[in-house]
């Protein structure tokens, strides 16, 4: 039996459809309920619905054998897991954005507002640029408008929100999409099972 951490919400629904097409259906999951664990004995899977930002942790600690997570969250968590497959959907970019016409003052630390402090710190450390990280939980675009930060590090899908707020992308840090991840220890003891689900999902993409 393979345990799978599925992100709750839009991404999770898409992932489940893919898993269903790959032969890992569990119809109970589609019913409207408050349950968090769903098992399909015949298909040999157990699904756990978890918060998208927690998937990498569940998998790293082996509470789930595999899971699906956005590359943005995976980079931020720094989880020590295998990333076996790029599922190719949920595409966007991790970017640095600022107000149009922003000029960087290089004599002081750059103030960066973000939901991704580790990603931002690693990115600017590599460039040897001192920053002051301001951790926010939502509506990151507001920060430069209200003067809270100079720039933001955030995911940009279509760029519409940025345009509407008079912001624009200055640098792209990394492309993002949904990734299939796996626990390292589970891969040693359930190699064939995990290999099979990877192959079937790859076919179903």
């Amino acid at each position: 039996m393979l345990s799978v951490a599925l992100p709750k919400g839009r991404l999770g629904n898409k992932v489940y459809k893919l898993l269903e097409a790959a032969g890992y259906a569990c119809p109970e999951l589609l019913e409207d309920s408050r349950k968090l664990i769903f098992t399909s004995e015949e298909n040999g899977v157990k699904y756990a619905l978890v918060k998208p930002s927690d998937v990498a942790i569940y998998v790293e600690y082996g509470a789930a054998d595999i899971g699906v997570v956005g590359k943005d969250i995976l980079l931020e968590s720094g989880a020590d897991v295998y990333e076996l497959l790029d599922l190719g959907f949920g595409k966007c970019d991790l970017c640095v954005a600022a107000k149009n016409g922003f000029g960087e003052d290089r004599t002081r630390a750059l103030r960066v507002a973000t939901k991704f402090p580790h990603v931002a710190e690693a990115y600017y450390r590599a460039k040897n640029r001192e920053i002051e990280t301001i951790k926010l939980f939502g509506s990151i675009e507001l920060a430069p408008i209200l003067g809270l930060s100079d720039v933001i590090v955030d995911i940009v899908e279509t760029g519409k929100t940025l345009i509407e707020n008079d912001l624009s992308v200055r640098e792209t840090i990394a492309p993002v999409s949904a990734r299939l991840i796996a626990n390292k220890s589970a891969c040693k003891f359930k190699d064939a099972e995990i290999e099979r689900i990877v192959r079937e999902m790859e076919k179903a993409i």
Partner: protein
């Protein structure tokens, strides 16, 4: 009384290593900070718990034992040192960003490391895993293979080399597919030594690759072990490790419970000796620990009215019969 899995394992491993002629090594809880600063790449971290001695010298709680062993070794090519240790190390936990005390056992061989010595260290790693669980896997690779791959696909680009290393470590063929299809076919490669070596040799032809593969085949021939799985995702720091590297897994622990390899580059300036060793992470063995069970314990209650002598005598009598007896003063209800 149940002994903890950690303690049982420590006893078993100490006896295993002693029977193989390794000698115990003890050290203080701290070392000069300078030792760790010079080798911060080996530690993968600069965050240590530091303090001053009375002369103002900076000391640090040891984050590692191997560096101290290497610093103090008297091993030469002719007279090797074989040591094992059981020590606490103090490291920053990357998830919680707090310091943790980690109990670790380890084994180091310093001196001439020939094929037989190398195979023996691998065998001891296998036996260490067997002491923890009947089911185990030793995932093994050779840093020469990854060196040869980096030289072949990204000879002059440190940035690209980093990308390749990450792709191998995370088994992500898609991360390097655009760089080279042949390269991406190597990522995630695992299986029997012979089978993986064959694929590596067909993909990259260089002296480094041939030498690494020859060593692996030799090891396979000496050990012929079913529990060894060659796995190109096993990587250690290229700066220190130059030969066979491995990680050990047991089903109940979510990460490698054993890790090590050949690290000649750390002992480079010591008269041409070689070095190989591994560490076993004991903290993670708590996964094997049954929850504490006190249901068998007898609680003997007493109050002011009971004669102290009688209470103790009763407790001792029960203990002599083999029970665990815990004395507690009766509280609350007056009428008891």
């Amino acid at each position: 009384m149940n002994q903890s899995k950690e303690k049982i394992t420590v006893d078993q491993l100490q006896s295993l290593y002693a029977r193989a002629g390794f000698r115990p090594y003890h050290m203080r809880k701290f070392e000069e900070y300078a030792l760790y600063l010079e080798n911060k790449r080996f530690l993968n971290s600069e965050s240590l718990i530091t303090f001053h001695d009375r002369n103002g010298k900076v000391l640090a709680l040891k984050p590692d034992v191997t560096l101290s062993i290497v610093k103090n070794t008297t091993a030469t090519k002719k007279s090797p040192e074989k040591l094992y240790y059981t020590e606490s190390v103090y490291r920053l936990d990357p998830q919680s960003r707090e310091y943790r005390e980690i109990n670790q056992m380890g084994l180091e061989l310093l001196g001439e490391v020939d094929n037989l010595a190398q195979a023996e260290v691998c065998l001891l790693a296998l036996e260490s895993l067997a002491a923890i669980d009947d089911d185990y896997v030793l995932s093994l690779s050779h840093m020469g293979i990854i060196s040869a791959i980096l030289d072949a696909f990204a000879p002059d680009s440190p940035g690209k080399q980093q990308e390749i290393l990450t792709a191998f470590r995370m088994r992500s063929p898609h991360a390097v597919r655009q760089m080279d299809e042949k390269l991406s076919a190597l990522v995630g490669l695992r299986g029997g030594i012979g089978q993986v070596v064959e694929k590596c040799l067909s993909c990259v032809q260089s002296d480094t690759m041939r030498e690494a593969c020859a060593q692996l085949l030799e090891l396979d021939e000496i050990l012929g072990q079913q529990r060894i799985s060659m796995d190109l995702s096993v990587l250690q720091d290229l700066y220190y490790y130059n030969g066979i590297v491995f990680q050990g897994y047991v089903p109940k622990v979510h990460r490698a419970v054993l890790s090590g390899g050949r690290y000649d580059r750390l002992v480079e300036n010591r008269g041409g000796i070689g070095a190989m060793g591994f560490a076993v992470y004991l903290n993670d063995l708590s996964a094997y620990q049954a929850p504490a069970d006190y249901s068998e314990e007898i609680v003997l209650q007493y109050d002011e009215k009971d004669a102290a002598h009688d209470v103790l005598a009763k407790a001792q009598e029960l203990r002599a019969q083999g029970s665990a007896v815990r004395l507690e003063k009766r509280r609350g209800e007056k009428n008891a």
